[in-house]
């Protein structure tokens, strides 16, 4: 099955191609083509996942029974590296997951811990050999790589993708007086969506930076195209939809700038761009690291920070987050799939993929934590007062992504990925429910003009309620487990380093804000008396089955997926199911933790410690790494549920009546008004960027153009003008008077004679000197090359020098 992973992008790209070429002729079939393709990839994803999971379990079992040097060791989490080389090769051969050319084995394939990596090279993409001693050979395979982390992404991308595709077949049509009309760009829409899925698959499957970069830019392109899907419509009073798309693409390009530079540094430092090879080298797989690439190394830190810039672009973090709220210009299914569930998590995927690199660059890791916490706070605060339904959800997405970055920043990579996973379900659910509401109210997006829709749209309400409870972090919904894990991890790091305690405080505040603004949107949209126009309200109803069915599936998922990763500190699950998600990912996501714990802390224990414990430096009394640290998990969980309930409760208290007077009174309060305005204008971040990067930069470019046209070109044209003016002046000499010509001729002859005299004197002087020295100069200067009997003169010195090549020359003949 792993051999077939190339089918993921290929199937979706084919669907995109068919829809793109068929375009208007396809009609409704376009939707079905994309949905079928997506369903096929979902089935594949399940197959690949099962294969990887079974193999992981079997190899673990095999390794446990394998004879090892120290049989007393607890092997709950066995270490691949502890097996003998022979045994490792045997296992790899047995399971044949490492698709390496047997003639050129790659050492890092077998040394990868728990070797579930399926390396699927397809073709050699770029190959430029070194020529001189100063450069390196570049080889980039078009290769895919499957491991535990990949399968998680494949699973939820294909599942949420499938649901959103199905939803979109219902959403992308309008009913006018009972007549159902497809959107005019229906096929184009599904073509872009399929292309997006193909790119997303390449992104998570890419075995090296450059292949990942294809997907990385590909999803950015599709995002651009889909944000600008209504390319001739305005989005708000400032931007058109096309502007919003452009903004997203350019913000992403700024991030790509960092990603590219990081790639270059890695290539010139380590000589490879392959993820597994990089990880292998960083974990000292028998190779000496170049200067600056060790733990805390300067270049490694620079690489990590540059990659962080790339991640902030794609995952909408400070400083590049402003594009995401405007990305809501796209159709709602796009917002749900691309700008909430999948594409924006690419940055987190990359950071988790390179967890070894980040664990070895603690400064950059702290940077990740701060970027995440700050973004989470800024965005959650901005969401408090927004009126646009999708805008609230967009800021909420930015904020939740910030929490994921925070998790990565404390070394809790698996926790970050788990939040990615749960967030995909409940945020997609929120967006799709919002889409259903907006659809039902004929493109009304202002939540102040909604209300009371619970009775009109009960199924949508139900889904939205579940997802709200999930994102707010109410037990036992999915968000509770994932968000709580993050906060718990940040708290754990804080035990060792108080900086993280501060970040824990920020995280809790974000949780409170989240509960409030989500509660607020729930109340204002579905509860109380309606503020919509009576006509719209009357006609509002639940969507067609393809829409409501998807909503209900996602709502149920928002409830249950949390149980995949229940920490034993909160409740015991039967069948060793506690932290199953974490244990599944551990071989990949905790590799950096283990490496740093062993190499830096001198840790020799069996179990993998929490990344947060390593990052925060939590020590026991003997000054050793406190591997089995367990904080007050249950207490923290109860606290955060209370915070969430408080937030929702406040929202119901302020807005529950359905009238806005209480809230408006608060907003007008002289003390609160500045605070309100900061939130409402989203910290004026956008205005700042607009002033600097749009107006400012444009003015600067205009100055550059002025310089180009008037100075650089001015010199050129000036040369022409001066010479023309000179000619005009000089022309007067030719005035037709013979006397004038005679005078000129006489002057010329005089000048020539003077020159001759000087030359003669100089020459005679030189000749006299040389005669004294006894050298005959002219002969040496003019001696010609000897002529051989063939009549062709060879260059004697040169001929000698090339004789070394005669053999080759003869071959060539």
């Amino acid at each position: 099955m792993i051999d077939l992973v190339w089918l993921f992008p290929v199937i979706m790209a084919l669907a995109a191609l068919i829809n793109g070429l068929g375009c208007r002729k396809l009609g409704e079939a376009a939707g079905y083509i994309s949905v079928t393709a997506m369903a096929a990839t979902f089935a594949l994803a399940v197959g690949v996942f099962l294969e990887v999971r079974n193999a992981a379990q079997e190899v673990t079992a095999q390794a446990m029974t394998a004879p090892v040097e120290d049989p007393g060791k607890d092997r709950v989490l066995h270490d691949w590296n502890e097996l003998s080389e022979e045994r490792r090769l045997q296992l790899v051969e047995q399971y044949a997951f490492v698709r390496t050319d047997p003639e050129t084995p790659r050492p890092w394939d077998t040394s990868v811990r728990d070797g579930m990596g399926g390396h699927v090279p397809l073709w050699t993409w770029m190959e430029i050999d070194s020529v001189l001693g100063t450069d390196r050979s570049l080889t980039v395979d078009f290769a895919l790589h499957v491991d535990q982390l990949t399968t998680v992404f494949l699973l939820f991308v294909s599942f949420v993708g499938l649901l959103v595709f199905i939803y979109a077949t219902g959403y992308m049509r309008e009913s006018h007086h009972g007549k159902v009309e497809l959107d005019p760009g229906y096929a184009r829409f599904f073509s872009y969506l399929a292309l997006f899925a193909a790119s997303m698959y390449i992104l998570v499957l890419g075995a090296n930076f450059v292949v990942m970069f294809i997907g990385w830019e590909g999803v950015g392109l599709c995002s651009y195209l889909l944000i600008g899907y209504y390319f001739d419509k305005p989005f708000n009073d400032k931007l058109s939809c096309a502007d919003a798309g452009k903004k997203a693409f350019i913000a992403n390009r700024v991030g790509d700038f960092g990603l590219l530079l990081a790639m270059f540094l890695i290539f010139w430092g380590l000589g490879t761009l392959d993820f597994q090879h990089i990880i292998h080298m960083l974990t000292n797989g028998g190779e000496v690291l170049p200067a600056g690439f060790g733990y805390h190394g300067s270049i490694l830190t620079a690489v990590a920070l540059l990659l962080l810039l790339g991640a902030t672009g794609k995952s909408a973090q400070i400083p590049l987050f402003t594009w995401l709220p405007d990305a809501m210009a796209g159709p709602t299914p796009v917002s749900a799939l691309i700008h909430a569930a999948t594409m924006v998590t690419a940055g987190i995927y990359m950071l988790a993929r390179l967890n070894v690199l980040y664990m070895m660059a603690p400064v950059a890791l702290l940077g990740v934590a701060f970027v995440g916490a700050l973004t989470a706070l800024v965005a959650a605060y901005a969401a408090l007062t927004q009126r646009g339904f999708k805008k609230i959800l967009a800021y909420s997405t930015v904020s939740q992504l910030g929490l994921m970055f925070l998790a990565i920043g404390v070394g809790a990579f698996a926790a970050g990925i788990f939040h990615v996973f749960t967030h995909a379900f409940f945020k997609a659910c929120l967006f799709l429910a919002a889409g259903a509401v907006i659809h039902a109210l004929h493109h009304e997006e202002d939540i102040f003009r909604m209300g009371g829709l619970r009775k009109k749209m009960p199924k949508t309400w139900f889904a939205y309620l579940f997802a709200t409870l999930a994102i707010a972090g109410i037990f036992p919904f999915a968000g509770f487990f994932s968000k709580d894990e993050i906060l718990y991890m940040v708290h754990s790091a804080g035990v060792g380093d108080s900086v993280y305690m501060f970040l824990y405080g920020v995280g809790s505040l974000v949780a409170a804000f989240t509960a409030f603004y989500m509660g607020r949107s729930l109340v204002l949209v579905f509860h109380g008396k309606t503020r919509a126009s009576q006509e719209r309200f009357d006609r509002a109803h639940d969507g067609v089955f393809s829409m409501t069915g998807v909503l209900i599936v996602l709502a149920i998922a928002s409830l249950v997926v949390g149980f995949l990763n229940v920490p034993s500190g909160i409740m015991q699950l039967p069948g060793n199911m506690n932290s199953a998600f974490h244990h599944y990912l551990e071989p990949i996501t905790d590799r950096g933790t283990l490496h740093v714990a062993q190499a830096v802390w001198g840790y020799t224990g069996e179990a993998v410690p929490y990344g947060a414990v390593v990052v925060g430096g939590v020590e026991n009394q003997a000054g050793e790494l406190y591997a089995n640290y367990h904080g007050p998990e249950l207490m923290l969980a109860v606290l955060s549920v209370l915070i969430a309930l408080g937030g929702i409760g406040l929202a119901f208290y302020l807005y529950g009546s359905g009238s806005l007077t209480a809230a408006e009174r608060l907003a007008r309060n002289p003390v609160l008004k500045p605070l309100w305005s900061v939130s409402w204008r989203a910290w004026k971040w956008d205005d700042f960027y607009e002033a600097v990067f749009e107006r400012g930069a444009m003015a600067f470019y205009s100055v550059v153009l002025w310089i180009d046209e008037n100075i650089v070109d001015g010199i050129v044209l000036g040369t022409g003008r001066v010479s023309r003016a000179f000619s005009h002046w000089f022309r007067r000499v030719q005035n037709g008077q013979v006397q004038m010509y005679g005078l000129m001729m006489f002057a010329g002859v005089c000048i020539f004679l003077v020159y001759l005299a000087i030359a003669l004197i100089t020459f005679l002087g030189q000749a006299a000197e040389e005669e004294q020295a006894g050298v005959s100069a002219p002969e040496a200067a003019h001696s010609h090359v000897e002529v051989t009997h063939h009549g062709a003169a060879e260059l004697p010195v040169l001929a000698d020098r090339v004789t070394g090549n005669t053999e080759r020359e003869q071959d060539a003949r």
Binding site: T124, W125, M126, I128, V131, L132, G133, T134, D135, F142, V210, F213, I214, W216, E217, Y224, G228, F231, D232, S240, A242, K246, F249, I250, R253, D256, F257, L260, L261, M263, F264, L265, W268, M698, F700, Y701, S702, L705, D708, V712, D713, V716, G720, A780, S783, H784, V785, A792, A793, E794, L795, P796, L798, R801, V802, N805, R808, E809, A812, R813
Partner: protein, 568 residues
Amino acid sequence: MPLLTLIIAIPAVLGLVACLLLPQRLVKYGALAIVLLDLALVIFAAGRFDWSGDYQREVAAFEHTVPSHFQMREYVPWIEPFRISWTVGVDHLSMLMILLTAAIGVFAVLCSWSSIKKREKEFYFFLLVLQTGIMGTFLAIDMFLFYIFWELMLIPLYFLIGIWGSKNRIFATMKFVLYTLAGSVLMLVALIWMYYTNGYYENGVFQQVKTYSFEVMAHTQGEAGPLGSFRGAIWPFLALFVAFAVKIPLFPLHTWLPDAHTEAPTAGSVILAGVLLKTGGYGIIRFCLPLFPDVAFALAPVCTWLAIIAIIYGAMTAIVQTDVKRLVAYSSVSHMGFVVLGIFSFNAQAMSGAILTMINHGISTSGLFLAVGMLYERTHTREMSNFGGLSRNLPIFAALTMVMVLSSAGLPGLNGFIGEFNVLLGSMSNVPIMIQAHENPAGFAAAMGMVEYTWFIAALAATGVILGAVYLLIMYQRTFFGKLDEARNGSLRDLVPREWGQLAVLSVAAVWIGLFPRPVLNAIQPATERALQSVAIGTPLAQWDEESVTTVDVQVEWADASGVSKKP
């Protein structure tokens, strides 16, 4: 069979015949047949070409016999007193370039199909003469012959812009011709200078080697003759470099380009951008590096900075253009900056990337000019404010132009990315600047931390990637997105098969090189090797590594450095 001579001569000779014999309305068919024939011949030559990279044989050039790597070489003495000969030959670099030229030539004829209505005979004749000039430029080994073809390119383009151009054509064509003529006069001076000063010392006695043959000169330059020393070579180097830099065009010698492009007919723009600009980059790789390695190495930092300026400056000026054709023209300045950056970074990735970028730019910018031409043919305007919302009516046009835009913007998976990526990757290790940083720890380069990696260069150049997305998206958005607010744009017809066929072929090429660049990269590799090894002679490049940087040894074995002893 004198294959290369045929390739050079066929367009002009048959073009003349066709124009004399064929009636006006059939001339374009004749022209198409001729460029297709030329393309077929070039492909045939490519088939016979030894792509392995170790072709080598002894050849004669007047009284000298030297080893040469040029294949299918034809040598006919011409003006014997001055040792000027008709010497043409092809190596990897020129093979790729003539393939590009022959292919773009077909597009140039096809895009004039319906847009040229006056004086068709003369138009196609000049177009074909232009192709002869370009082919000769890429194939000439005798440097005087090179100069003749170099000048020959100017004349037909002068008429093409001056007669079939748009409103301001006379000014533009005069500016273009005078500007590039100034450059080529410098080249002539340099060639004559080199003719008389070329030679070597044997036992302390100067042996003059008068020659215009590139092969002979390339084999004498390693000696400490007048051209082998920095002081003797700097002036001819600068003269040649300026001539090439004008063509590229490199900042600050670029200002002829926007005017010429804007006023030229579509075919002129396509050839100008697609092929003509490459003669500059080709000239640098072919002549400046092997003949003056010392100077090239010493001046590499300057050239690198000029390239950086060109990349950023060209992009910035492109962003604020309102004329769509001018925008694409300025984008050429930016893209060709990448070529110069790649050449003067002196490592394999950058050099291969530069050569590939020349090909990619030929594909994507030609495509953009074709698209602009199709737009102009329909609307008779190039002001972007007159467009908007066109993708509603012209979906095929919009989709194909999008591919060209993305290719130009360097989207991975398309051709532009492969070239730009490698140039940028290579620019991270710009050896001349790193040596500068080591030798002068108080200098700018060292202060910028360019001791291990020239990250600052790469960072500045990579901003060109951001800016590239800005101007291309602005252009695309103003043209195809937004409201369809000009009433007359509502009735535009979409592309006919001849038109979308051209863009589709270029799109397929873009995707193909983007996903499977290896055949092209493998073909480029020998050219890269030759260029780098030629510049390594006598410069620290050959042996430089981080440890030995303070004790750079300039003595290099001839056999290693001449580039002919490459191990397979």
